[in-house]
Amino acid sequence: MRTDNLEELIAKFKQKDRRALARLISLIENDPELAGKVFKHFNKPNDAYIIGITGPPGVGKSTLINQLAQKLAEEGKRIGIISIDPSSPFSGGAFLGDRIRMSGLQQDKIFMRSMASRGAVGGLSRATFDICLLYEAFGMDIVIVETVGAGQSEVEVLHLADTILVINVPGLGDSIQCQKAGIIEIGDILVVNKKDLGGEEIAVQLDLILDDAVMYIGQTGWRPPVVQTNSISGEGIDELIEEIWNHKEHIELAGILEQKRQKRLKDKLIALIQFKILNYVMQHIYPTIEKTKLNNIYENKYNVYDVAQSIYNDFFSQLKGRES
């Protein structure tokens, strides 16, 4: 039988027990309030370097991670991977297929976890951050986060990363134009994967777009490089790793890494506050609005604003009551 005793799990976790890590990930994923209890047991935070990988489905993100993580492990690095796929909004279930591209990763230095987005309030970014912390506490040097490049929430996850790779492939020429703004905004390194299928044209096109993006480069001083890879043969992966370390060095020297990490913690703090307050309101105040108030809304939807205000007022007066 598996144990859910927290003390026991944490003791095992500290001895680098992979099952304890796996179980703690599940517990934190299932219960947002648990993370605080877990991290009480750790006092010396260590920083892992977080690499975010995004791009449309099928461009080879998981296959690329398979190469990247193996090479980094050969250099002696310990690596934690999180691959996120969407949950079905209808059933809540998910099909997590990233592992089939990562058969080269089963070894002591690497831990890979598939995660469903579980769409609910704040779910995605919250658990991802917590699991990054958990990997760090476990002693990982590098955390790699794979997301599907679609939707606002993905951008949120990417705020987690120190270096962001945006993956493209040959044949997506038109969509590059559409993505233009997005690419320049979030990609620290642009990867054109599936080099065996071409991609020279896109690489050139991206270079041209980047050359035009003087404004952006002015802000950080970093001109994102374009790297062509073949994630099946491993061609270009060494160059990609070199560019990752170049970017790391750049943002360290420019003080950007420090800023990013502070921003990340601030975002997390705000997310936690929102979560706690919303939880309180939903548990203690929302149930007390009588059916009539809901009926008011159904009868005249303009009332929705008033009802929200009255819930807020109830919350506020409860707060005042507590103070005195």
């Binding site: 039988m1 990930i25 299932n30 809540g92 279930g93 998910a94 099909f95 089939i100 089963q106």
Partner: protein, 131 residues
């Protein structure tokens, strides 16, 4: 707090039959489960994946005729790691009914041969996963 049921769907050994595992995986997803699709994996990889992904159930899809050997190997590896009974183990595929009891004795919680219904598999998992 219990989250969704997590399952690992794998094919130990290489045979060409993908349809079964894909259809069942979709069915489990549509029943609200998080399906980690392992595809072709060695028995060692299956056990390691089940640990990392902290799944509740391991599903083996076997069409090569070697279902007894593979199932036994997975169960032995689980025993070696002290994980006997930790995961609900289901075996499916081209399995003659005469072997059902053998597989159950080895450690499969249930066996699904040709003609099995997804709704029965879902019901069985929901009933037997300890949440």
């Amino acid at each position: 707090m219990a989250g969704p049921i997590r399952v690992l769907m794998s094919k130990p050994g290489i045979d060409g039959h993908w349809r079964g595992i894909v259809v069942v995986s979709r069915g489990l997803r549509d029943a609200g489960m998080e399906v980690i699709f392992g595809g072709f994996q060695t028995c060692e990889q299956i056990v390691e994946t089940a640990i990392e992904e902290d799944v509740d159930m391991i599903g083996l899809s076997i069409h090569s005729g070697a279902h007894i050997g593979y199932t036994k190997r997975v169960v032995d590896l689980l025993k070696e790691k002290g994980l006997n009974g930790h995961f609900l183990l289901l075996v499916g595929g081209a399995i003659p009914s005469k072997d059902f009891e053998v597989l159950k004795e080895i450690g499969a919680a249930n066996v699904y041969g040709p003609g099995s219904l997804i709704k029965d598999i879902v019901a069985f998992i929901k009933e037997h996963v300890k949440k």
